[in-house]
Symmetry: C2
DNA sequence: TCGTCATGAGAGAGCGCTCTCGCACGTGCT
DNA sequence: AGCACGTGCGAGAGCGCTCTCTCATGACGA
């Protein structure tokens, strides 16, 4: 093996010459086409091994118009340039990555990481994806009113969302069974003997917020408590603090709270403490997400666990499937 | 704009025809080559706008042998198939991603995410990178005895490591100034008035472990305490627990401990509590990393902060630079 | 025996781009 | 006037692959 500088890697041609067949035949073997003489197959395979041949992806996707790779797009609301993206710090993100890679890695497809955090990037994304011949998109959108799902489906890019899109769109997604989770929370609060239960909900225009609110209310109703005080937060810690202040003003004797996500729950707990309430002794607080925020608290917050890794894995599987068969109608899997 | 199914995106040819010039000229304009008549440049640019042309990356990299994209490789020790990758859950990872994307995103290069968690993947990686025409690698290796740095440099793949490689290799890396950090920790413990100070070190074969131990010892020596008891851990929480047990057996009256990373510190704190020691009242514990583990504790662990985002950003910049000028000798930046 | 058809393999045309080469033109020198 | 030279552009050859089209071969029924 002379390894002079810039030795070109072996090509289909080399393999063909070594095997004494045509390029087409080698290609057939590589791609597992039927109707190839087993003897020749063997010959070719040996030649491939001998030359150390690896197909050139650029050349392949030039003609097939597919790269065999997908994008993991994280869509954030507009940010100022100075503060860094906060999404990635959330273990949530890591768990998604973990789940996705668990499925993709063994299949030898590696996701391209993209952060969409400004309007211009958002607008250019579709073009970029076409240009890069990205086969599909795993979209993690924490942008309530995101246009990306619509854009992507309009551009006919196979897409799977993490969590249901705010505006209904003909797109696949995975999500948790919010109602199941909220039911668990309601049961827990009631079991604990809480008498005056309230909830800090998420934004009503975000499906997750809406569904967790309604789900919780329903579950409480089934416990014979049709009316549950609720205040609306914006899924941020600060929002949780403000919501908690309002809630305390409205209902000072509250002793059990379901908060629609952990970040708000952390804020709520802080405010409760400021007001001299002990958590969980005086007021029981249950969050939702099982994110880092829950563990930051002392003592750790009770929270509804989401099987994020499994969801992410399923998301990846769904995308692969959609790429395989683009004509299938969008599907959704609920955990 | 007729948008019949599978309308081909515009090519260089189209643009050339619209502009009434040759493909070569359009290519020159796109790539900003000198020696192009300003008038023609204008014409071409207008044609590009009109057609909505976007260069096809596959075609381009087929001839240039570069993709303009880099890989973010996470190298883990061998794992069993059943337990998922734990790296991604660590906020450390998220912070790195955040820093990297901060630099790469604006330059329109998006990293490809790869997890290397088995020998076979490790062995195949170099080939994969060549096949994919990946221009460079950002390597996050938490595998003490990793062969990847050597492999990559041997294959002449531009690489930048996060943290110094265990085996010396001619490769660029970013790292923290362990000695500065450990000095901070030593100062703090002494300032607190701790009299019997010890340290739980990392593995000696990992540079970070070794340097933090030596650095801490040096700093203590400068405080007039040349001998500091130390036990060795393996950078895991469990390892921290075991190390703490040993330390308590050796030196029951310890009242100040520097632990080489936060995970071990968390374990140490737990063991201290089991033994009835109050932290930080009876025993002061200082960790290293500023990872989630530090915040999990109650009260939060004192920890030496690492500017991970900045390090990651610098790492990305270094890689871009190395890709630009491959002949430069490897450099390292210490924070 | 001849024609028909399935089967396996090769020839060759691109995919969209870059880049070298050479041509035409204008400028400055002898 | 003649020659050298630089400058701007187009022609055309690939990059490594896939895929269609064609051809050779052998099996089979009429």
């Amino acid at each position: 093996m002379s390894d002079r500088l810039a030795t070109r890697p072996p090509t289909l041609d080399h393999v063909a010459q070594v095997a004494g067949v045509s390029r087409a035949t080698v290609s057939r073997v590589v791609n597992g086409a039927p109707n190839v003489d087993p003897g020749l197959q063997d010959l070719v395979r040996r030649a491939i091994e001998e030359t150390g041949y690896v197909p050139n992806r650029a050349a392949r996707s030039l003609v097939t118009r597919r790269t065999g790779s997908v994008a993991l797009v994280v869509s954030e609301p507009e940010r100022h340039a100075d503060d860094p993206a906060t999404v990635f710090t959330d273990p949530f993100f890591g768990r998604i990555v973990s789940g996705v890679l668990g499925v993709l890695g063994p299949r030898d497809v590696h996701p391209v990481l993209m952060l969409v955090d400004s309007g211009s990037v958002r607008a250019g994304l579709v073009n970029r994806l076409r240009q890069d011949h990205i086969d599909g998109v795993l979209l993690i959108s924490i942008y309530p009113d995101d246009t990306l799902p619509t854009l992507l489906t309009a551009a006919d890019v196979p897409t799977v969302l993490f969590s249901k899109p705010a505006r209904p769109a003909p797109v696949s997604y995975v999500d948790v069974a919010h109602r199941e989770g909220t039911k668990l929370a309601a049961d827990r609060l009631v079991d604990r003997g809480c008498a005056r239960i309230a909830t800090i909900a998420g934004p009503r225009d975000v499906p997750a917020g809406q569904e967790r609110l309604v789900g919780f209310q329903d579950a409480m109703a089934r416990h014979g408590r049709p009316f549950v005080a609720s205040v609306e937060g914006n899924f941020t810690q600060q929002g949780g603090e403000q919501a908690m202040e309002r809630l305390l003003a409205e209902q000072p004797d509250v002793d059990g709270i379901f908060v629609a996500n952990d970040l708000m729950a952390a804020g709520a707990v802080a405010v409760l403490r400021e007001h001299g309430r002990r958590v969980p002794d005086d007021v029981a607080v249950i969050g939702f997400d099982d994110s880092a925020a829950a563990r930051d608290c002392r003592p750790p917050l009770t929270t509804v666990r989401q099987p994020v890794e499994n969801m992410a894995a399923e998301m990846a599987r769904m995308l692969l499937d959609r790429i395989e068969r683009p004509d299938q109608p969008p599907a959704s899997v609920i955990f």
